[in-house]
Symmetry: C2
Subunit: 213 residues, 2 copies
């Protein structure tokens, strides 16, 4: 027993929903699909409720408002991608620098499988107003990824992990968008090729020195 039980002493009505009811799970799953596939602003709560086989009342009882549902959607997606990425990277025995490159393999699979519209956080950032709580989730996601890449870069012995991580993040975002726009075939693979060059360069004492400064 977590002991948190609802001993009525609390005035505030908490709806944080750590544990979701079955209906809430369906709502969240449906919302995730529709928000991602057709855009957050483009889809209404009515459509979500209907598609989830739930009444609007239930939706509002569980999530409080569309804005909160949006945040829940982004958080769920955040957790999903983090898990997928880290699992992919750690899955096999790899050298640290192979791990850095493996993040692009993970991205390739992720985009290929069921994410034609690119990064949900970038999309949310574009769609939502600047002061929407979802913006924070989106930024946190990028901050986390940057940190993860930095850690891997440091582990690999990069000369300047922070800088390399920044470069790789740009490649991730660029590949994601280019895929979504269908501007370039196999964008993730191309980003990986670039990453390979940069990682190699960052690990080898400067030789090329393209330094136009």
């Amino acid at each position: 027993m977590t002991g948190d039980g609802g001993t009525a002493g609390r005035g505030g009505k908490r709806r944080d929903a750590q544990r979701l009811t079955p209906a809430a799970v369906r709502v969240l799953e449906t919302a995730s699909e529709l928000f991602y596939a057709r855009g957050i602003r483009a889809i209404g709560v009515e459509a979500i409720a209907e598609e989830a086989g739930v009444t609007k009342k239930t939706l509002y009882d569980r999530f409080g408002s569309k804005d909160e549902l949006i945040v829940a959607y982004l958080r769920a997606r955040d957790a999903l991608w983090r898990g997928t990425l880290v699992r992919y990277v750690e899955e096999q025995v790899r050298t640290p620098q192979e791990k850095l490159l493996a993040t692009f393999d993970a991205l390739r699979d992720w985009l290929r499988e069921r994410n034609p519209r690119g990064c949900a956080f970038v999309n949310a950032h574009v769609e939502l107003p600047a002061d929407h709580p979802g913006q924070r989730v989106a930024r946190d996601q990028k901050t986390w990824l940057l940190g993860y890449l930095r850690d891997l870069a440091a582990e690999a012995g990069a000369a300047e992990p922070e800088q390399l991580a920044g470069q790789l993040l740009i490649l991730h975002e660029g590949a994601s968008i280019s895929h979504s726009l269908q501007a370039i075939p196999r964008a993730a693979e191309r980003a990986r090729e670039m990453a390979a060059v940069l990682v190699a360069q960052s690990l080898a004492p400067a030789r090329v020195t393209a330094g136009t400064r």
Copy 2:
């Protein structure tokens, strides 16, 4: 010569508005600012008309519908960015490979000056439904940029211009998005650094004898 992107209107109706009336110019300028700054879906025609000092009737007389106004906005922005980029690249005497890198300097200035929300076409692509006519304008923009980069790459004597152009496009998009998300400071500069490495590598492979023509 880049095969120009085309965008030739097929069997267009009237109201193509090559020459805009003074009121139409104000509407388009206002719409451009508001659509870009706050999002296409977030802003209504009423707000645009009011801000432009124009009645809704005039707006509809000139542009027909919000969708057509959106297309006009995207086309105008397309022309603006193409002009700015090409002018920047051709402005000074540069070697072909300096031109490739200069596109990132142009991007840096563009983002720094008045475009904190990144690429308007990426934003439009995210905001608009898949079958919206604006999607075509957005894709054409990317196709043009890819072609422009390919031509510069070929001019510079890159081993595989198409491939290099694709890489550089990914870098452009990645820098743009990273800037917009404020995930990385000086994203365009970092993208330029990466581009420098890739360009150097693309020109140097298999002892090219560096025929600096």
